[in-house]
Symmetry: C2
Subunit: 286 residues, 2 copies
């Protein structure tokens, strides 16, 4: 892991920037280079100390480690040329929220062994280099896909790194990952965005409605602050699974509506009680 | 406000218990009596110091102040006999989450002036006397309905109390309250319960799904820990408004599903961007 001298982070947003801050902390001898399509983000990231220097795609041959933290549709496009550009000893880790298409994109790439598909289950509703924070990944789950296709030595170094960052490791098939994550992450974002929309639409005619909002509403609608530029590609790449989870969610809401409409309060009660054990399931998550 | 010597709290749960704790703190000379249908809750509340003594309905004639904090359908039933039972100088404050039916229930009651209809926008997802915490109401909004029907002197004392508790006061028509609160509170609970249900159903077949849940899911699903015994009556009493908000929510989710299904990613993006300004609306709420 100490071999990671020159670290390049492609995409200096919430995830890439937070990763850069942590890498700098645990590998103080390394130099952190940032590459981003936004010049503003790059100069902001240098100013904030998130990265040491801004850099360019052409310099990737110098990299020992590359973190790919760009929108997931871009990751599918950029990962093959990134692998083309790096040296034989370098490791590329993609940290996007969908894993199927990015794994498929490099399945037969000659440098497939230099790639590790990862998804850190960590984040906030904020975005850009100013959202980058230290210790974002501590005690969080890191999902790794198709580790059998990554070079053993490079994988070992990556695992050392995740251990120093105090992450829990889970191994998954990339398409299982995408199916599951649609339920426990992607659907939450849609439910939150559409809840926000419903209340905002109502508020156009009812001016004092937000005076009445409490911490419950704030919690449920928090993810509606998330960046559409991040989330549109996620919904696109994971379309089938997201549609499946969304359809089930709408079915459940419609059932709840129907039993309430029918004054079946025993069933209204049961619907909630049967979900109450989410308490124990979520223990430890906050 | 110092005249509130004997304070009776009917319903020693999250809201009633927290109110009891705060009243004891700001009125240390007063005696706090609890009345509850659950003997367990009463002895628990005495043990925890939430109330000084457990008491009974028959003792209400001794009360200077009564806090009615029982499920909203029960409040409609119990408020008239509570008003019958109290002395001429006592004040009864109902703190339930729906206000229309409880106001209607005592509109022509001879002691209507002894009643104040209130809704503190405060709470957590927990319930029972153990959930009662101090300072729950500090910096929160207190909605008051039909204050013109409350005796001027009693209202003045109540206002002094809310000021000491550091609450913000808003005045509303009870039926407007119920319409608005359906959007900013009741709907959030349904969205959260049904999100929990959708994921739990999926998890029956997919054992490791919750390993993948992060803080975003936890936040969105937090309200699904709420007590069905509290929330079933709320949905019952506010049925028409809840159904209206739920129908609009389902319509918005279905529209999102349709544009995603049609690969209209510009519209998917716009749907999220148009809701993003919830950021500024929610400023200060957490």
């Amino acid at each position: 892991m100490e071999d990671f001298k020159n670290i390049f982070v492609l995409g200096i947003g919430l995830i890439g920037g937070s990763m850069a801050r942590d890498l700098k902390r645990v590998l103080p001898e390394s130099t952190l280079y940032g590459i981003d399509s936004s010049e503003n983000h790059l100069s902001e990231a240098v100013g904030l100390g998130v990265i040491d220097h801004s850099s360019r795609f052409e310099a990737l041959s110098q990299a020992d480690l590359v973190i790919l933290s760009i929108p997931v549709d871009q990751a599918n496009l950029f990962l093959p040329p990134v692998l083309d550009a790096i040296s034989e000893h370098a490791l590329v880790i993609d940290v996007g929220s969908t894993k199927g298409s990015v794994c498929d994109a490099v399945r037969n790439h000659p440098k497939r062994a230099n790639f590790l598909a990862a998804h850190p289950i960590a984040g906030t509703e904020f975005s850009g280099p100013t959202a980058a924070i230290e210790y974002l990944f501590k005690d969080k789950t890191m999902i790794l896909c198709e580790v059998e296709d990554t070079d053993t030595e490079l994988l070992k170094k990556a695992m050392q790194l995740f251990e120093v960052l105090e992450m829990r490791i889970r191994y998954m098939n990339p398409h299982s990952h995408d199916k599951h994550i649609a339920y426990v992450s992607h659907l939450s974002h849609i439910s939150s965005f559409m809840l926000g929309k419903t209340v905002i639409e109502k508020e156009k005619n009812e001016k004092d409605i937000f005076d009445m909002a409490g911490s419950g509403f704030a919690s449920t609608v928090r993810l509606a602050k998330s960046n559409p530029a991040t989330w549109t590609p996620i919904f696109k790449e994971n379309k089938a699974n997201v549609l499946e989870s969304l359809t089930e969610y709408i079915t459940n809401l419609t059932h709840f509506k129907n039993v309430l409409e029918a004054d079946d309060y025993e069933e209204v009660y049961n619907e909630m009680e049967n979900t109450n054990h989410i308490k124990s399931i979520l223990k430890g998550l906050s």
